[in-house]
């Protein structure tokens, strides 16, 4: 989501193999060029492939030595076109991307791009289950002048809800921050999760009552 001085992106650290939580320490956020952050959900190999292509593009951008680097607007537009053209050839990159960034004094940029080539700009986006569980929370609480700490707290809360309610989410996250001068991806942050609710720890029925399930 965008915040007062830029934009943040958060993702959990899980790479699933179908229903199996296979790799639990994967960083799904990638720094692209100088000012952009790419967050990828879906097929991890496609995300890695596109990351390598973008790295090559960033290197070519650097070789020009012309004093300007591509920013989030340029990269998100490029990724959007690549995704759309791949789907038109029936050979999609099976991902939902969030491309965020802030280039120096330009306004913060936040774009959603997915495997169908859908691309749109917004103040806050989410992919996968985050779209169903997180967006309502964001709609209620997001403000344009949020501080960095407020934005991080809101993102963490959304991912906590996702972890509680989505069977294929994980309780460790990365938060990436783009503030116009640098792109920083945090170390893995463990989420707080509480399972000691009375509703399922208290005994509600007598031992010899066969009728109930709890």
């Amino acid at each position: 989501m965008k915040y007062k001085d830029g934009v943040i992106l958060a993702a959990d650290t899980l790479a699933s193999y179908g229903s199996e939580a296979r790799y639990k320490d994967v960083c799904r956020l990638k720094k692209v060029g100088e000012y952009t952050l790419l967050g990828g959900g879906g097929e991890l190999s496609d995300f890695q492939y596109l990351s390598d292509q973008l790295d090559e593009m960033a290197d070519e951008d650097w070789l020009n030595e012309d004093g300007c680097f591509m920013g989030p607007k340029e990269y998100s537009s490029y990724i959007g076109r690549v995704m759309y053209n791949r789907r038109s050839k029936f050979n999609p990159l099976y991902n939902q991307f969030v491309v965020v960034g802030k280039k120096k004094d330009e306004p913060a940029h936040l774009m959603y791009v997915d495997h169908q080539g859908t691309a749109f700009e917004e103040n806050f986006v989410a992919t996968g289950f985050g779209m169903h569980l997180g967006i309502p929370l964001l709609r209620n609480s997001w403000r344009a002048d949020m501080s960095l700490d407020e934005a991080k707290a809101l993102a963490t809360k959304c991912l906590e809800v996702c972890f509680y309610r989505d069977c294929r989410a994980y309780c460790k996250i990365h938060i990436g921050v783009c503030n116009g001068t640098s792109v920083d991806i945090s170390a893995p942050i463990p989420l707080n999760h509480f399972w000691g609710h009375g509703a399922w720890t208290e005994k509600r029925l007598e031992d010899d009552d066969p009728t109930a399930t709890w």
Binding site: D52, E56, L63, E65
Partner: protein
């Protein structure tokens, strides 16, 4: 000068009776008549400098470069025909990129220099193309060990590894000066080398030639071990200091 080839110099596929390929030697002449360029492996990186002749007062400063980045930790400074050199720079860049794509590590400098040598040499073998009229000074810093290395690739395809070298008009004088500098300062750092390099270029510049712009770039801790042009402020300070010292030396003489 004209006619010394005596008919054996018409094509690059002809040897002379004394075993020389004149066309390749003539390509070397294009290098010898160009502005001086030099490169030094310092303790913590590589410094490149080039004497860029200004054909007109209306040229925008900082354009028509003679020093090019090849990849993050490698740069190439050119003596000779810069238009020819763009092909070599382009080839070096794609070699480095393809190596990284294949092996997921930065191309070793010796390998890159060897490939460029083979590339330039290939153009001396066929009648349908001409040799490159430029020499490339390829300077690299290893990503892990941070060790600098410098290679000189000539139009005939020979590759030499140097501690420091110079090419172009003032190369003899420049090489002598560099030897003196390195003898006095074996632990020279890139920051210290800036002023010395500016001094050498100003010293070997022939007054009869056109005005020139000093182009310096480096790969060192100050540039985060990436090839970068020396910031304008530092370059101007180095040049001003160099001119001051040269004037003082001339007064002493």
């Amino acid at each position: 000068m004209a006619g010394t080839g005596a008919g054996y110099d018409l094509s690059v596929t002809t040897f002379s009776p004394d075993g020389r390929v004149f066309q390749v030697e003539y390509a070397g002449k294009a290098v010898e008549n160009s502005g001086t360029t030099l490169a030094i492996c310092c303790k913590d990186g590589v410094v490149f400098a080039a004497e860029k002749f200004l054909l007109s007062k209306m040229l925008v400063p900082g354009t028509a470069k003679r020093i090019f980045p090849v990849h993050r930790r490698a740069g190439m400074s050119i003596a000779g025909m810069v238009a020819d050199a763009r092909q070599i720079v382009s080839r070096a860049r794609s070699e480095a990129t393809q190596y990284f794509n294949a092996y997921c590590e930065e191309m070793p400098s010796e390998l890159l220099a060897e490939r460029l040598g083979l590339f330039m040499h290939a153009y001396t073998l066929y009648w349908s193309v001409r040799p490159f009229g430029c020499t490339a000074l390829l300077g690299c810093v290893d990503q892990e060990t941070k060790k600098p290395s410098l290679f000189c690739i000539e139009p005939n395809g020979m590759v030499y590894k140097y501690q420091a070298t110079a090419e172009g008009k003032g190369k003899q004088a420049a090489k002598t000066e560099i030897e003196k500098v390195l003898a006095n300062n074996p632990e020279l750092t890139c920051e210290q080398a800036l002023m010395l390099v500016a001094k050498i270029i100003h010293k070997v510049h022939d007054e009869k030639d056109k005005d020139f712009e000093l182009e310096i770039s480096w790969i060192c801790p100050a540039s985060n071990y990436e090839h970068a042009q020396v910031p304008a402020k530092q370059r101007k300070a180095a040049e001003a200091e160099a001119k001051r010292i040269l004037e003082a030396e001339q007064e002493d003489d």
